[in-house]
Symmetry: C2
Subunit: 109 residues, 2 copies
DNA sequence: TTTATATATCGCAATATTACGATTAATTAT
DNA sequence: ATAATTAATCGTAATATTGCGATATATAAA
């Protein structure tokens, strides 16, 4: 009990859920929004702009990196993060397909 | 420690995160997919098709209902669930806007 | 009224997430 | 070499989520 039973779901369902989960925290949304605006992509700037501890931001960055949605490049003593275009497009397409699969007026109640 | 610090984020960021969270579980994705296919929308059928206990499915249904993405109608002794069109469109639009705000080739690393 | 059926809720155990201080590791500047 | 700077990781506490059996609730059938 207490563990998500991924084995009973399809790969697609698990992947969709994982994608959603990666963005299911306001700090991670904030990070993504910053990177989309594409000004400061330096980790330290993200720490300043979002009001969480450095360790916490680093943890959120790791989660986003784990699903591939961002990538980081070391620049001297700091790290520059940005959106991984390829993965971002994949997310965009997958989410888009889910939402467009809704057929207007088909609701039964 | 251990509580999401919603107070330091914008309403938009919190709302986006909450929307993602509602769909951040394969069982809830599976439920939504079933309702999109719009055959069996009866709770009991969902329990049969997804392999989780009745209590667990009921809990996931409650979470989806809590964010308004589905609605349930009592039909005799059973309950018919379906997508809430209005809320679904709102989700679709909000997610769409986030993803289309990505500017091609702007990544700095 | 009694019984059967369907769903929601309660209570609990297992696990996961969030946050942060402290520390480590790696690079740059002195 | 040493100190300063930046980010990752460790360890831990607080809280949230997941799953399910048991029970409650509500309607329908007998």
């Amino acid at each position: 009990m207490g563990v998500t039973r991924t084995e009973i779901f399809t790969q697609e369902q698990n992947e969709l859920a994982q994608m959603m989960k990666a963005l299911a925290h306001p700090a991670r949304i904030a990070i993504i929004q910053q990177l989309l605006k594409s000004q400061s992509c330096i980790c330290g700037d993200l720490v300043d702009e979002i009001g969480l501890a450095q360790a916490t931001i680093s943890q959120h960055l790791r989660e986003l990196k784990a699903v591939g949605i961002i990538k980081g490049t070391i620049e001297g003593t700091s790290v520059c993060y940005c959106i991984n275009e390829e993965v971002w497009k994949h997310y965009s397409k997958t989410f888009g397909e889910l939402f467009k699969s809704f057929v207007e007026g088909k609701s039964c109640c």
